[in-house]
Structures are given as C-alpha cells and as structure tokens.
C-alpha cells in the first residue's frame, strides 16, 4: 500500500491551546515524511500548520483555551491537503499578509511561513461561524511535474 491509497481522511480535534501543538507538529511530521517529502519541506509544513493553529488561538479565540481546532489531513492522488477549522470570531483575511523579509523586525513572519510552505492557500467562512483554512501541497512526484 502506498500513502495515496490510504483511505483518509485523518481528523484531529484538539484544544486550542499552545501546549497541544506538539501533537499537531508530530502528526504533520510523520505524515509528511511518510509521503516522501524532503526533510526541509517537512519542516516547512510542520511550521506552516503550527503557525496557522497559533493564529487561530491568538486571533480567532483570543487565547481562550477552552475552544477547539479541528484539523483534517487528506492525501489525494496528487496532493496533501490540510484543513484547519475553527469556530472563533473570524480573523480578517486582510491580516494574512506576509511582510517583506528584508525588513528585519519582530512579527509578520507567520503568514510568510504558511504561504511559502504550500502550493495553495485558501480560506472560507463556513456556515456556523469561524473559518476554514485549507493548505495544499502537491505530492513530491506531482510537484516535479508541475515545475
């Protein structure tokens, strides 16, 4: 069995708490490595998902730790999709702007990390409130074909 044959998705429902992020990082790390992404790309995906969840905790939930984040991992024939669903106040998509990296100052790096790790970055405001952020990365063989 190869991973694209894996009958997903895997759904992780965790507390919106920075202390729970190690579980997310470990899972992204293991799945990405198993898919066959290079260690640097795996690092980038781990960081991207961690930063996206951190944004949810900080901005959508205002650091209230009794809320939930639901992360869905799907491996399709050509891509790895990670959906991050929150039920918070809804962050302003205009805030999803990375900063100029030549500008050496604290802050603004999280969005840069997320966007540079994936091939597609989409968000939606589903019924019931909150936000759904979908991150897509082409699988290694597919990535070569795209370039």
């Amino acid at each position: 069995m190869t991973l694209p044959d894996f009958k997903g998705p895997v759904i992780l429902d965790i507390p919106a708490d920075p202390l729970a992020m190690f579980i997310v990082r470990a899972l992204v790390d293991k799945i990405s490595a198993k898919i066959g992404f290079e260690p640097r790309q795996t690092d980038k995906l781990v960081l991207a998902v961690d930063e996206a969840c951190t944004n949810v905790i900080r901005y959508a939930y205002k650091s209230a730790g009794d809320e939930r984040i639901v992360i869905t991992f799907s491996i399709g024939p050509d891509c790895f999709e990670i959906s991050i669903r929150d039920f918070g106040s809804g962050a302003d998509p205009q805030t999803f702007q990375g900063r100029d990296l030549n500008d050496i100052r604290p802050g603004g790096l999280g969005t840069h990390f997320i966007k540079s790790a994936v091939d597609r970055f989409e968000y939606d405001t589903p019924p019931g409130g909150g936000m759904l952020l979908k991150l897509t990365k082409f699988l290694p063989a597919e990535e070569k074909a795209q370039n």
């Binding site: 920075p18 202390l19 992020m21 990082r25 260690p39 640097r40 690092d43 980038k44 781990v46 960081l47 961690d50 930063e51 951190t54 905790i57 900080r58 990296l101 050496i104 100052r105 604290p106 802050g107 790096l109 999280g110 840069h112 990390f113 540079s116």
Partner: protein, 92 residues
Amino acid sequence: MSSSPQVRDMLLPIFRRKVSHIIVDLSEVPYIDSSGIATFVEALQLSRKGQVRFSLAGACRRVESIFDLAYLKNIFEMAPDLSQLIGGERDR
C-alpha cells in the same frame, strides 16, 4: 508560542545590564515558531543599539532550518555549540 513570553521576559532585561556578550544556548530547544523568532529579532535589535554582541549556540537542524526559512540565519551569529563561543571569548 507557549514559552516565548517567558524567554522574552528573561532575555530582554539582560540588555539593561552592562554586559558585552549575550549567548543563548538553544541546544535543548527542539522547536521554534514565529513568536520565538520575533523575540530573538527584538533581542538582536537591542544588541545593535547597545553595541552588545548577541549570539545563538547549539541550534538543532529543525531550529536552524526555521531561521533559514525566515532569511535570518546569516543575520544572527550562530555557532554549532556553546564551547565555540565561550572559547572565542577566552581567546580575546
């Protein structure tokens, strides 16, 4: 994110003391995120303002890779381990 505020609270007051070199030992740090990076960028700015040498030592591959992704690896003085920087101080 969970430990960045504590690191910031511990690190930044050191710049108010009369020190010539601050080294942060990262050898026990398995992971860093953008808030951790932001804390070190703030410290770097204070070091430049106060003309204090600021170095990071012992970063593991993943932590080093995150500095690299932020295009900051060459902005910070980074040594593979603490002994290199302490040895360097002794040699001065």
